[in-house]
Amino acid sequence: MRADAIDWHIRLREGRAEDWEAFTRWLEQDQAHNAAYEAVALEDAALDEAFSATPIVQAPANDDEGVLPSARRARWTWGIGAVAALMLVTLLSRLMLAPSSSLYPVETAPGAMRVVALPDGSEVTLNGGTRILLDRKNVRYAALERGEARFRVVHDESNPFVVHAGDDQVLDVGTVFNMVRDAGGLIVEVSEGAVRFNPDRQAVDLTAGQTLRARNGSAAVQISRKAPELIGSWKTGRLSYHDETFATIAADLSRSLGIRVTASPDIASRRFTGAILIEQDREQLFRRISALLGVNATRGATGWQLSADDRAAR
């Protein structure tokens, strides 16, 4: 029965509706079935804790070494400073050469934040609803699939760090920068150091205090200025702005909160200077935003909507 429970558990990880329905019927046959399944599910959940809470610093050993299984056994060493440890990514080395990709994903749930330490000392912080790919065989690689991530890259001129975002690339030698990839395009903002955007195409160099906006389907990019201390402020849990549009603020709020926040068209281009502390109590947060921005904040079926406050004094 335990074997059956395990089989069900595996099947359900990719199960279709019919599988879940069949599973329900199996559970209904005997209470012991549920007990067995629950034990299995809880044991598997404990695996997640093992896989995701452990700091591993050493990059995997060269996969090409040796032929005997023992020579290719996984090796890793533990990082230091467990108490001060942030959430780190598990880099389990591979046991055998196989036609596999060495890429692996790191993802955050909507509204969550996660810090990933790379073996070279670089650091990636993911905002909510973000997905990046990293490469076991190349620590100077990342791909931003969606969302927002802040990169702190350790200096190494002989081996630049490259972040891919679709067809675009950001090349960096040792720097702190923020990237957002959404349905419309890509934003790159540099707070320290310098990056080169698309070295083989536009080859735009950005230094601290510069931001670049690229739209999908267009080679033209827009460069503007932004004070470094405002770049990537989401990481601190406080969104800081100088003369920023409400539309952008709404988008930033969406990412930090993991819920859709929109600014109605008539107020989207209004500007705001100041800081918004992201607090847990949503009602309170939006009352505060309402006061700070001078807007109405209403909660709808699909999220929060910011709109003109008709009662605002002239």
């Binding site: 558990h9 279709r16 629950e38 044991e43 934040m113």
Partner: protein
């Protein structure tokens, strides 16, 4: 738009979900409470197309149920005053594992890798790709040039080995007679 669709699907399949939760050992009041919880969470979903809404909702319901069970277990363990592990729960902004949690997790990982090391390499590799990398069974089958049911067999074998080891670890970790931990002596004297 995707999220409105999900809500509609949810409402349509609510009786089915409640039946599922009952089969999973929940009483009707708790099941309805969980369903309500799930519905509220749907509101927070950011735009993302869901290919299979029904199975997604089943998955969500099952996960919520497991979260609750785990929270209950943690509470029960804390009440026995034998562990100082920090409570889990959803921590959005700052997820710092305590030093003890890290050590425990490190230990688990070592044991799991020992188990995987004892399996045939292909079996261990398939397990890693599926369980850790999140690669689909279909893709694994095509990567290795084997059938889907062969992949399933490898996974069943690996899971059995790994989960049995997990069960062992869990059993040992709540044994109050572990010599290394001072605190547990108090409990043992009860």
């Amino acid at each position: 738009m995707a999220e409105l669709g999900l809500k509609q699907v949810f409402l349509m399949m609510q009786p089915e979900l409640l039946r599922f939760l009952a089969a999973r050992g929940m009483n009707i009041a708790d099941a309805e409470d969980l369903a309500q919880d799930l519905f509220l969470k749907l509101e927070s979903l950011v735009d993302a197309p869901i290919a299979q809404p029904k199975s997604y909702l089943y998955q969500m319901a099952n996960n919520l149920l497991l979260d609750r069970r785990r929270a209950e277990l943690r509470r029960a363990r804390r009440d026995e005053a034998w562990t100082e592990a920090q409570s889990g729960g959803a921590i959005d902004v700052d997820e710092r594992p305590s030093a003890e949690q890290v050590l425990i997790a490190r230990d688990r990982l070592r044991q799991i890798n020992a188990v995987l090391g004892a399996l045939p390499e292909r079996t261990a590799e398939i397990f890693r790709r599926f369980r850790i990398d999140g690669v689909s069974q279909r893709k694994i089958a095509s990567d290795f040039g084997i059938s889907l049911s062969a992949v399933e067999k490898h996974l069943q074998r690996a899971y059995r080995a790994v989960l049995n080891a997990q069960r062992q670890i869990d059993a040992e970790s709540i044994d109050p007679r572990r010599p290394s931990d001072q605190k547990e002596d108090h409990v043992a004297q009860d």
